[in-house]
Amino acid sequence: MNDIISLNHISKSYQGQSVFSDLCLSIPKGEFTAITAPSGYGKTTLLRLLMELEKPDGGTITGLTGQKKSAVFQEDRLCENLSSLTNIRLTASKSDETHILTAMEQIGLYDCAKKKVSELSGGMKRRVAILRALLADYDILFLDEPFKGLDKDTKDLVIKYTGQHITGKTVIFTTHVHSEISALHVKNTISLPELSGH
């Protein structure tokens, strides 16, 4: 059972409100899995459980031990007072500066490596957050609505770059935009409403 992440009879509730009850789910490792659901169906909760930021109220999750994680959160979660280069270097597997600078240029981030994150636009911050996740040393990558807030052209560019850099890795991706799923050639799609019985 080493090649899947499996959620067994998971239940989770917040302040008496049940998000999941008896959720069973298998996510294959080394593949790209998309989780789709409209807002409020627990996509982020599911990711938080998988990222081990929260513990389930009941049930078990197996297949995560020893896995190095990386993530693009719904928020950028960057260190605002530090430069974008420092932010990326913080988690990067290769801290080589030219390597990072080349990657930044490939997703349209020019001349902002030394700029503080707080001075960047929303779309630029988003791309720094995406690059930080992609350049990290990871086994599992979590993408929680990663392309939200990017304009059309930038989004195409970033999706293309992302697609090229995640082959062979376990990627868990949440979105409610179906065009993103097809653009990334996602193999497995899990629809949460069907599973959680809403």
């Binding site: 930021l53 993530a71 928020e75 979660r77 605002e80 007072n81 420092t86 913080l90």
Partner: protein, 256 residues
């Protein structure tokens, strides 16, 4: 996000003309009174300062007080920061020292000075007093800074399994530094005022406080004003230096 450059942004700028106005008021008042013993004129004070400034004891006194007050200040900053870091990680310890910190904060400085004088020599009194004034403020500010650290960033650090060093250096330090910075700039002035007050009460030989005390005994306002001017100048210069130093630290921290 807390803006790093928030120092003095709301305070009114001191204009040259208003300073001249109040100097003139001072000069007129002293002439009207006609008693240079009771109210020395600005000119008398400057002249007196010029006389004092060429004597060795003048500089020795400055050195004496300066070293002790700065010593107490630095110890306070160091211990306050260490205590805060320790307290955040050990709730029981935090609860244990909470009454002490509150006590130090609320006890009037004069009571402290008298109390401390019973136990230690007046020579090093100002070290202890400025230390005690600085400690609780630095402790409280740094502790609040640590507690206010963005939870989202801490979660990010946990997902990426950042090392303890990276978490400290890149998440805690940049976020806590503004709190540390504002505590330091408040505390330096406080350390000076309380340190000198301690010297006036304890009268250690060769301190600035001793000169102030003598000025009081002999009703010597030119000396009193001259020494006060020295204290103000020292305090302002040091604050400027400290802010410049903190700014350099901030630039270093942000450069990454």
């Amino acid at each position: 996000m807390i803006s790093i450059i928030n120092h003095n942004s709301n305070s009114t700028k001191i204009k040259g003309w208003s300073v001249l106005f109040w100097l003139a008021v001072w000069e007129i008042a002293s002439r009207l009174l006609g008693q240079s013993l009771l109210l020395a004129s600005p000119l008398t004070v400057i002249k007196r300062l010029a006389v004092l400034a060429v004597t060795t004891p003048f500089w020795q006194s400055i050195l004496f007080s300066l070293l002790r007050i700065i010593g107490g200040f630095l110890c306070g900053v160091l211990f306050g920061t260490l205590l805060a870091i320790f307290a955040v990680n050990h709730t029981k310890f935090e609860e244990l020292i909470a009454p002490l910190i509150l006590l130090i904060k609320t006890i009037p400085v004069a009571s402290f000075i008298i109390l401390v004088l019973i136990f230690i020599s007046s020579k090093n009194l100002s070290v202890m007093i400025s230390f005690l004034m600085v400690l609780p403020i630095v402790y409280t500010n740094v502790r609040n800074g640590i507690l206010e650290t963005d939870r989202n960033l801490l979660e990010m650090a946990s997902v990426f399994s950042l090392s303890r060093f990276k978490k400290f250096r890149y998440i805690y330090v940049p976020q806590v530094f503004p709190y540390f910075q504002s505590a330091c700039s408040v505390c330096l002035g406080l350390a000076f005022k309380s340190g000198i007050a301690a010297e006036v009460i304890g009268i250690p030989t060769g301190s600035i406080g001793e000169h102030l005390y003598n000025a009081k005994i002999y009703l010597n306002t030119p000396d009193l004003f001259a020494w006060t001017l020295v204290i103000v100048l020292l305090s302002l210069t040091l604050e400027k230096l400290l802010l410049a130093l903190l700014h350099v630290c901030m630039t270093y921290i942000e450069r990454g």
